[in-house]
Amino acid sequence: MNAITFDRRTLLLGGLAFALAPGARAAALPGESIYHLSATLVDQNGQRFELASRRGQPLLASMFYTSCQMVCPMIIETIHATLKALPRADAAAMRVLLVSFDPARDTVPVLAQTAAARGCDARWTLARADEPTARAIAAVLGIQYRRLDSGEFNHSSVIELIDGEGRIAAKTAKLGAVDAPFLKAIRRAREAAA
């Protein structure tokens, strides 16, 4: 049981947001939205952005650190595989946000290098934030991480589907292969929006 799928109504509501153009946004965010969090990040191109600016499009979100040898590359590869398994239009509409919990070492050039080395196209944002912000993003995503004295991190590995309004619509902890129920949750949300 790797995928946690939320109830149908949540997904349907979330799915509606998929269809909304940025100009047609509803004014009020739902209470469950992670976009209530005021969080400033910097992407792999050195651009500052607010977490809430991701509102309006579905998002696959996770956290990572670039010096991680094993699990973090697997998170990226699993997202690649998930995107490939989606119908072309769905994959094109999907955005990816990976936030580093290692701001000390994951500088903008390091993030840019990782994005290039891992074949992350324009849909992907690899971002850094200061430590308190990273901790808060982990909190809204329900991700646990801990910095060890060695500079390594222990962390839970989870990929989340965030709907256009910032609600967590589904999550998976399955790495290394496409999680079928998670994929189904993405497709259901997209179908509801169509």
């Binding site: 790797n2 965010l29 209470g31 209530h36 308190p132 808060a136 809204v140 004295d149 590995s157």
Partner: protein
């Protein structure tokens, strides 16, 4: 004319009353903010019950940078003043992503009216709310390591953890049911001058979502195991520290939006 005069007097009285009330409120707020004491904690090398190194079962002492810790947990009155000044944290306005509706300040009579004694520790607050409060005080939540290091002291020793009698004393508190209402803050100060680390309430730490991680994410197996005490307990170095272990178990079972009737917080500052 007389009526007007009377009205004028009434108005003047009302204005004076309002001014007096405001002044009193402000004085109360000022005295509350000036009364907030922080104590310097300089632990240096510290051995946490949580493994800090790469070997999940081995102890590895680490340096804890000097920091200042709030002498006492945040009280009901202090938190009420904060909510009044920052209405986005009222229980009827806060987004559910930041505070579970059924829990957050659920023991208050109204969104701005607490029910508990003003000097008792505030409880039923989410991690987000605790963080926002500390920011309003120019502070932050302590890390687990800071909290644990400060809480290792008894009244006279900076690290009393090896003393079975002290351990037993702390454990005794955990065996008692939570009194209702909670007692006021202001227990005996420990060697750092910090009060109520044990014996009053549980406390949020900034990295509450960092505590129960297996040694390596590859070894997690079923990620749901993270939700259970047993999964992490294997990685507790000093298994005799039951009291501290219980804190970790509680904190790691929480979501940031949760709150409980005996979970409060205090703030810390980097030096």
């Amino acid at each position: 004319m007389r009526r007007l005069h009377a009205l004028g007097r009434a108005t003047a009285l009302a204005v004076a009353l309002a001014a007096a009330t405001m002044a009193a409120t402000m004085a109360a707020a000022t005295s509350a903010s000036t009364a907030v004491a922080y104590r310097t904690v300089e632990v240096g090398r510290f051995e946490s019950v949580l493994p800090q190194g790469n070997v999940p079962t081995a102890s590895a002492p680490v340096d804890v940078a000097p920091f200042a810790l709030r002498e006492a947990p945040v009280t009901v009155a202090e938190f009420a003043a904060f909510v009044a000044a920052h209405p986005e944290w009222r229980r009827d306005r806060v987004p559910v992503v930041f505070a579970e509706r059924r829990r957050y300040l659920s023991d208050w009579r109204a969104p701005l009216v607490p029910d508990a004694p003003p000097h008792s520790p505030v409880v039923n607050v989410s991690w987000y709310a605790a963080r926002a409060y500390c920011a309003s005080e120019g502070a932050r939540l302590p890390t687990w390591l800071e909290w644990e290091a400060a809480a290792a002291a008894d009244e006279t020793r900076r690290d009393a953890r090896a003393d079975p009698a002290w351990r037993a004393r702390i454990l005794a508190w955990y065996e008692r049911p939570t009194p209702d209402p909670l007692p006021d803050v202001g227990g005996a100060p420990n060697a750092w001058g910090v009060r109520d680390l044990h014996g009053l309430v549980w406390e949020w730490v900034d990295d509450f979502n960092a505590l129960f991680i297996a040694g390596d994410s590859r070894t997690q197996g079923d990620p749901d195991l993270l939700r259970f005490c047993g999964a992490g307990a294997i990685n507790i170095v000093d298994r005799d520290s039951y009291a501290v272990l219980m804190r970790i178990a509680l904190l790691s079972s929480l979501d940031a939006a949760d709150g409980t009737p005996n979970l409060g917080f205090r703030c810390a500052k980097s030096l």
